[in-house]
Symmetry: none
Subunit: 224 residues, 2 copies
C-alpha cells in the first residue's frame, strides 16, 4: 500500500473529508495557492473543498489532490514522503518480479526441488516472487518498506536467504499485515518449531530448498 492510498482512504472515511484534505495539505506544507497553481485551478476551489462547501468530493478530485501533494513534495526533494516511506530501495531485495497471470505454486515448488515443512497444501497460485536477504531486510527496512517485498501482488512467493533458525522471517510476516502466498527458505541452517507453527497459523506453506539464490532467480524469471 502506498501513501496515496493511505491518504485517500483517510479522506474518504473521515466524518469531515475537507478537514482531512487540509490536514494533509498542511502536513505537506503546500499552500492552497501552490496546490491550485499546480492543478491549474482557482485557489478558491481548494478552499471550498476544505471548508466543506463541497461535501462529497469525487474520487477524481481526491486523486488529483493527493497525487499533486505527493508530486509537489517529490519536486521539492521528497522530504515529507521520506518521513512516511523512509529510505531508498536497498540491497536487501535480491530479485523481485511479477507475472501477468497465475502460476501454480505446486509447479514452482517442484522446479526448485522444495520440501514443504508446514501442513499447508500447495494447491494455490502465485503472481510474483521476491528473493530477499533475511538479515539485511530486518536491519534496513522500516515498517512501511516491508510492503516493497510485495511488489504488485501479495499473491507471491517470498524467498529468504541467510536464514538460521527461520524464526525471524516468519515473525516479520506474522506481524506485518500483508501475507505472502508462500515462504521459501534458501539453504537454512535448520528449521525451528516456532517457524513451522507460525506458518500453520498464518496458513502459509513453509518450504525449504537447497538450491542457491542465483539458481532460484534464474528459474523464477524463466517461468512463462
Amino acid at each position: 500500500m502506498d501513501i496515496q492510498e493511505k491518504i485517500a482512504g483517510e479522506i474518504t472515511i473521515a466524518e469531515n473529508p475537507g478537514e482531512t484534505i487540509r490536514k494533509w495539505r498542511e502536513e505537506f506544507q503546500v499552500s492552497q495557492l501552490d496546490l491550485a497553481r499546480y492543478l491549474e485551478i482557482s485557489p478558491s476551489v481548494i478552499s471550498d473543498y476544505e471548508s466543506g462547501r463541497r461535501k462529497s468530493p469525487g474520487v477524481t478530485s481526491i486523486r488529483k489532490i493527493v497525487n499533486a501533494l505527493v508530486e509537489i513534495d517529490l519536486k521539492r526533494g521528497g522530504q515529507v514522503l521520506r518521513r512516511y516511506n523512509s529510505g531508498m530501495p536497498s540491497d536487501a531485495i535480491i530479485d523481485i518480479s511479477d507475472y501477468s497471470h497465475d502460476i501454480s505454486l505446486e509447479r514452482v515448488i517442484r522446479m526448485i526441488s522444495g520440501t514443504n515443512y508446514s501442513s499447508i497444501g500447495l494447491n494455490r497460485y502465485i503472481r510474483g516472487y521476491t528473493i530477499v536477504d533475511g538479515i539485511k531486510a530486518i536491519l534496513s527496512f522500516s515498517y512501511s518498506e516491508y510492503s516493497k517485498l510485495y511488489g504488485w501482488s501479495s499473491q507471491r512467493i517470498i524467498f529468504f536467504t541467510e536464514v538460521k533458525l527461520g524464526r525471524s522471517p516468519m515473525i516479520a510476516i506474522r506481524v506485518h499485515p500483508l501475507k505472502p502466498a508462500a515462504v521459501v527458505y534458501i539453504q537454512p541452517d535448520r528449521i525451528d518449531d516456532l517457524a513451522v507453527k507460525l506458518a500453520d497459523v498464518e496458513n502459509i506453506p513453509l518450504i525449504v530448498t537447497e538450491l542457491d539464490a542465483p539458481a532460484i532467480s534464474k528459474i523464477m524469471s524463466s517461468l512463462k
Copy 2:
C-alpha cells in the same frame, strides 16, 4: 489503519474505481442486490458504479458502500473481516497499565535492577507499561492486535517473558509501526547480537532483568 480506509483508498486511487468497488464487493461475497437492499437503493445504482457509468463517485457514496460491505460481513459473523483483521483477544498480555504522568525510565530500570544491553541512553520518560508473554503474543496476535500492547500511549516499557535469544520480540517491534520507549527482557536465556543491533537501530533501550514477572508487575503497579 482500519480496513475501511484501506479499501476506500484503493478505490479512490485506482484507475478504474468501479472495478475496484466490484473487486471488494465480490471479496466480501455480497451480491449487488444484497448491497442495494442494505443501502435501500436500487441495484442498478450499484451496477452503474461498477460499470463505470458513474466515473467519479463522491466520498459519501464510497463511504456508504464500504461501510455497508463491512457491516454486512459483521452481521454474517465477520468471516471476511477476520481474514484481514484476524483473531480474538488473548491471554498473552500478563499486565498492562498507564500512568497519568511521565515517569523517569532511569528510575524504573534502577527499581527492577535492569542492565542496559544497548547503547541507547535511559534519560527518557514513560507513561505506561505492558508485560507480555513473548511466545504467546507472537502466536496469537494478528497484525492489528499488536497495537493492544500499546494501551493509551506508545511511550511505554514493554516487558517480554519467555525470551530465548531475544530476536523475536525485537523483530516484531522492528516490523510494527508503533515503537515502545524501552524493551525489557525478563530472565532471557541469552541475548543475541541481532537483538542488540535492532535495539540500536530503533533507538530503543534494551534492558535485561533477573526479577520474575509477578515481581515486576508489583513494582510497576506501585509506581506513583
